[in-house]
């Protein structure tokens, strides 16, 4: 029998609102309001207020930063549920404190990805009705919105819900204003050995079911680009695996950043020990190395003897309009890898350096997503059109910033209602 949660204060800052929390929340609400205002302008005046234009005749790109961020957000979600799944499947007990953080990150970034798609389409209501009405299984879009946005999101919610029942039962015993929520979430859970065993079995099979689903889902997202034979720069067998690996890179990097912030904010140095960051850093190092390999292969193939249309896109990416984004992303990835490898080789992990690496890979991931989505539209047409141009407008930047603010807000609100770190196995419920 174990330690009962006897402290009158709720764990991990639940229900504890500080001045700093209010200040950050107000700041995020202001950014969210800006995003909503920008989106209202887009809804009212049409997509003419964005930088998006048709390919060819209008010399632009109809997929802009909204789609780049769809790919980024969905990519980040990959690592969240992967880490959470690996904790259950491989019994990585020392990573259990970050399991819920990872699950929540997955749910929130998938919601942000869905909102990014809605921001991209001119008539969101029509999209919501017509996508499920007319979608064809032959199209990779079918997989994107059925598997990624709907199935994967639901599966992640189920995972978050079931994995949280035990903590909900613990919280239900405290005298709080959210008692009704905890009782509803716990749904009669009393933490008997039978219930624990049943839960362990369920989460094992759930994780086993989610992992292939998310691999398929992320590959499908890669196929949205990789199967377009008429679009130089996109048509490639490497798109799907590269999407999956970069998804892992960005998500793991963000997990390091979030875990480090929460370690400091919640004073959870015991739960979020340096061992957790060592594991995440090493995992990120391997993924970054794999993605750098993809980048080198991509570069070699496109500059060696590519067809003229492919070479035109490659020139724009490596030496032209988009070169600064590409090379900054490449430098950020290499710098992250060097930081992580030096720590690994020296067997001395520094938290600040790990956070820097996590931030760098995310900046690189955003840059790479932009590079994947845009140049093939402005420079990759097979028809005799001139080179196009895409410059995001303030509306697009504001909407994306608003979405990021919404994501952070949702994360912060969740943390004030529910423990972001799982109670140890030894905690008693009944």
């Amino acid at each position: 029998m174990a330690t009962r949660l006897e402290s009158k204060t709720l764990p991990y800052g639940v229900g504890h609102l500080t001045v700093a929390w209010y200040v950050v929340t107000a700041f995020l609400l202001a950014i969210l309001a800006l995003g909503l205002y920008a989106y209202s302008r887009q809804l009212g005046e049409g997509e003419i207020v964005t930088g998006m234009r048709d390919i060819g005749t209008m010399g632009g790109a109809p997929w802009g930063i909204y789609i780049a961020f769809v790919v980024y957000f969905v990519g980040v979600s990959f690592a969240g549920i992967t880490i959470a799944g690996m904790v259950r499947l491989l019994n990585l007990e020392h990573l259990r404190p970050i399991a819920r953080m990872a699950e929540l990150l997955t749910v929130i970034t998938l919601v942000l990805g869905a909102f990014s798609i809605l921001a991209d389409v001119g008539q969101p209501l029509r999209a919501l009705i017509n996508l499920p009405r007319y979608a064809r299984p032959m199209s990779p879009f079918f997989g994107t919105f059925t598997l990624v946005i709907a199935g994967y999101l639901f599966a992640s919610l189920v995972y978050l819900y079931l994995a949280g029942r035990r903590d909900a039962a613990i919280m239900a015993r405290q005298d709080t204003r959210f008692g009704w929520l905890y009782r509803l979430w716990a749904a009669g859970y009393t933490d008997t050995p039978e219930e624990r065993e049943r839960h362990r079995r369920t989460t094992f099979w759930l994780a086993l079911g989610i992992l292939p689903l998310l691999l398929t889902a992320h590959s499908t997202l890669g196929f949205v680009f990789g199967l377009q034979a008429g679009r130089p720069g996109w048509f490639s067998a490497l798109q799907a695996p590269a999407f999956v690996v970069l998804a892992g890179v960005s998500g793991t990097g963000l997990m390091i950043v979030i875990a480090a912030i929460l370690r400091r904010a919640l004073g959870a140095t015991r739960e979020l020990s340096i061992g957790v960051f060592r594991w995440l850093s090493n995992f990120l190092m391997v993924l970054t190395a794999a993605y750098l390999y993809f980048m080198v292969v991509e570069w070699l193939v496109s500059v060696y003897a590519a067809p003229s249309a492919e070479a035109r896109v490659a020139a724009a990416v490596f030496r032209g309009d988009y070169a600064w984004i590409y090379w900054l992303s490449a430098v950020a990835l290499v710098a992250s890898f060097v930081i992580l490898f030096v720590q690994y080789a020296a067997r001395n992990h520094n938290l600040a350096l790990a956070v820097i690496a996590g931030l760098l890979v995310n900046l690189a991931a955003i840059g790479k997503r932009y590079e994947i989505v845009i140049p093939s539209q402005t420079h990759g047409t097979l028809l005799p059109y001139g080179e196009g141009l895409y410059r995001p407008s303030w509306v697009e930047y504001s909407v994306i910033l608003g979405l990021i603010a919404l994501g952070v807000l949702l994360y912060m609100l969740f943390m004030k209602v529910f423990p972001i770190i799982e109670a140890p196995e030894s905690g008693e419920v009944a």
Binding site: P132, A135, M138, Y161, A187, G188, G209
Partner: protein, 75 residues
């Protein structure tokens, strides 16, 4: 076999069946398009049914964990 296992397996099976049927038989035909029938689903909202199938598959996990509790409460 316990009730919860039976119900969970039934929901799981229904989800898989709904997903497969909606994907292969209700949505637009698979294969190289030869006429306009390949452009539209055979049953409108077949994709929504497919999503319903996936939802049922994962909802089976919730059934497995919760149904026993309800039975105990009722007992």
């Amino acid at each position: 076999m316990q009730t919860r296992t039976v119900v969970a397996l039934a929901v799981l099976t229904a989800g898989v069946a709904l997903g497969l049927v909606s994907y292969f038989f209700l949505a637009a035909p698979l294969g190289r398009p030869t006429d306009e029938s390949f452009s539209n689903p055979r049953v409108p909202f077949a994709a929504a049914l497919f999503i319903g199938g996936i939802v049922l598959v994962f909802a089976s996990a919730v059934c497995y964990e919760l149904i026993g509790v309800r039975r105990e409460d009722g007992a």
